[in-house]
């Protein structure tokens, strides 16, 4: 995430210096005429750390997560895990990657077989990867349930006997069972009630430190990345609009889309008067507009934006933005940050205290 030659003066800087665990370079994914992902580069250092991918439907965030796990065919670019191109993995090396990189979906019911007991579902992952025999796998399943905050006795239950939040904990336990280093969390709390969501977020915050996890957190919810991700990339129509340290990216956006997205989020205590309303609908990814893909909806668009594609460039320390007018946007954002920052005082980087949200 941090461009070469620019180092953050923060404890995170040291981690950023190390080789990335996951290195996505110029990734492109096409579905027929649709450019779902169009030249995205992102880096994720080894854990514990989180990279948030935020954006609306059609922004490509889920596709990037799938591509990182080699679950979709890419049409360009390279995804490297520990320096190795995952497209070239075969046999044992591919199996190792399938173990080291796990995914948690929005809907746990897609992961849990309704006819299998919870314990068997978790144990299956262990035996499939030949990490344990049946008896040992059953024992570990109980320990994993305890680790995600469930009674080990749940191993004997069926999915329908659990609540949605409990089922999501089970799918996390299953993902953790094979001791991954990389997780893709794809909208892990979007289907949950607010209290269950808070509990899952707290669980992720605890596990990332205990398990040394690095994760891509895919969400449309800015509050969630601000709690769990050091770095965030804002995606629009398959491209990175802006990326940088989560707190400052949200506090002082450099891209007009981030500003609009930030202001569209209803927050307790904020007034809708400060809203930046975007005209129109997101454009068709099969027919992206010329110039900047955001220009038809951008309140700041000028002639240049209609013809010239803005490069993703460094606009402030640690900050990248694909906007011709990013400096002006940063200035506007400084003058009126939109809804007041909720907790500047405790604005520590996520991963320290912020990674443990109120339960």
């Amino acid at each position: 995430m941090t461009p070469a030659g620019e180092r953050q003066e923060s404890p995170a800087a040291e981690r950023q210096d190390r080789a990335p665990l996951l290195d996505i370079s110029e990734l492109a994914v096409r579905f027929g005429p649709v450019r779902a992902v169009d030249g995205v580069s992102l880096q994720l250092p080894p854990g514990p750390c989180g990279l948030g991918l935020v954006g609306e439907s059609g922004s490509g965030k889920t596709t990037i997560g799938r591509a990182a796990l080699r679950l979709v065919r890419t049409s360009g670019g390279v995804v490297r895990y520990e320096g190795k191109d995952i497209a070239g993995l075969r046999g044992r090396a591919l199996q190792d990657y399938r173990r080291a990189a796990q995914i948690v979906f929005q809907d746990p019911d897609g992961v849990l077989d309704p006819r299998m007991r919870i314990g068997a579902t978790i144990a299956e992952a262990l035996t499939a990867h030949r990490l344990a025999g049946h008896r040992e796998a059953a024992r570990q399943a109980g320990a994993l349930l305890a680790e995600v905050g469930l009674d080990p006795a749940f191993a004997a239950r069926y999915p329908h006997q659990l609540s949605g939040g409990q089922r999501q904990r089970v799918s996390i336990a299953r993902a953790l069972s094979v001791r991954p280093r990389l997780l893709v969390l794809d909208e892990p709390t979007s289907a949950l009630d607010v209290r269950a969501q808070a509990a899952i977020l707290a669980l992720v915050g605890r596990l990332r430190a205990q398990r040394n996890l690095a994760y891509l957190l895919i969400t449309h919810n800015l509050a969630i990345v601000s709690e769990l991700c050091e770095q965030t990339a804002v995606l629009y129509l398959g491209r990175v609009a802006e990326s940088g340290p989560t707190g400052t990216l949200l506090g002082r956006p450099a891209h007009p889309y981030t500003r609009a997205l930030r202001s569209a989020v209803p927050e307790l205590g904020s007034t809708p008067a400060a809203r930046v309303v975007l005209p129109g609908e997101p454009p068709d990814a099969a027919n992206p507009p010329a110039g900047c893909v955001f220009h038809p909806r951008c309140p700041l668009a000028v002639d240049r934006c209609r013809t010239e594609v803005p490069a993703l460039r460094s606009v402030a320390p640690g900050r990248l933005a694909a906007c011709h007018r990013a400096e002006e946007v940063l200035a506007i954002s400084s003058a009126s940050p939109g809804p007041a920052p909720a907790s500047t005082a405790e604005g520590s980087p996520p991963g320290s205290t912020a990674a443990a949200p109120p339960a």
Binding site: V194, T248, G251
Partner: protein, 258 residues
């Protein structure tokens, strides 16, 4: 009082799922009904629509529209109320439109069913589309050619064209992107202010409720634990359950740095 619910009890057999002593929505008022899944929010909506029996529930108590009792009406009489005087929109707007018919044909049919002539329906549909900030030209398209936010606004346009007095909005923005949600919320505010519509807004999202609603009722396990002006309930809750819900809402942590 436009819509008044008194002593409403909805049950499946012996299991009571809604037990609401009092809930009302005044003219040109948006009232939020907030709570977690299973709290009885949607069953309350179904009861108001006179549809609770279709899922096997029994309803006791009183539901009045402008003082007239709805629970004693026959299904035939209810059809004059449901969809016309009390309209409803749901989480998935696509479910309200058949994929094989043009959007306009669905709108037209709804208006014709409630007694409009062909020309009246055409005019009313175009006018209502503009009120929800959509081009009437979209009526010629198929549902798959519209976004979720556009379809939700068309569903609202049907209610507008029929001059519905009450709109039941059951999680109408939960499936929408935030920028699109912002537009739908704006349309709902506009309906309240210019058309004087009464809205019962059902949501699990307290931040959305805080932004949109005049009053709010917090529901838990079928009962309303607290209700009052949204600004008061959500800033100084009297019930500990409301406080728990508020504490669980994730907060955007932003910094002013570079």
């Amino acid at each position: 009082m436009r819509l008044a619910i008194t002593g409403l009890r909805v049950s499946f057999g012996t299991r009571l799922v809604v037990d609401v002593d009092e809930l009302h929505v005044g003219a040109a008022e948006i009232v939020g009904l907030a709570g977690e899944s299973g709290s009885g929010k949607s069953m309350t909506t179904l009861a108001v629509l006179g549809l609770a029996h279709t899922v096997g529930a029994t309803v006791r108590g009183s539901i009045t529209l402008d003082g007239a009792e709805l629970t004693t009406l026959s299904q035939r009489e209810l059809r004059e109320v449901r969809g016309r005087r009390i309209a409803a929109i749901f989480q998935s707007p696509a479910a309200a439109f058949s994929p094989v018919y043009r959007v306009g044909s669905v709108v037209h049919r709804a208006l014709r069913l409630h007694g409009m002539s062909k020309t009246e329906a055409t005019e009313a549909a175009s006018r209502a589309m503009r009120q929800v900030l959509l081009s009437p030209g979209l009526l010629d398209r198929y549902p798959s050619q519209l976004s979720g936010g556009q379809l939700q606004r068309v569903a609202i346009a049907i209610a507008l064209a029929l001059r519905a007095e009450v709109l039941l909005a059951d999680e109408p923005t939960s499936a929408l992107d935030v920028t699109v949600q912002a537009e739908v919320l704006e349309v709902l505010r506009e309906l309240r202010d210019s058309a004087g519509m009464s809205v019962l807004f059902i949501s699990h999202d307290l931040a959305v409720v805080a932004e949109l609603c005049d009053r709010v009722a917090i529901m838990r396990e079928g009962r309303i634990v607290e209700q009052g002006p949204a600004a008061r309930v959500l800033s100084a809750p009297a019930d500990s359950y409301t406080s728990d819900l508020l504490a669980a809402v994730p907060v955007i942590r932003a910094e002013a740095g570079p």
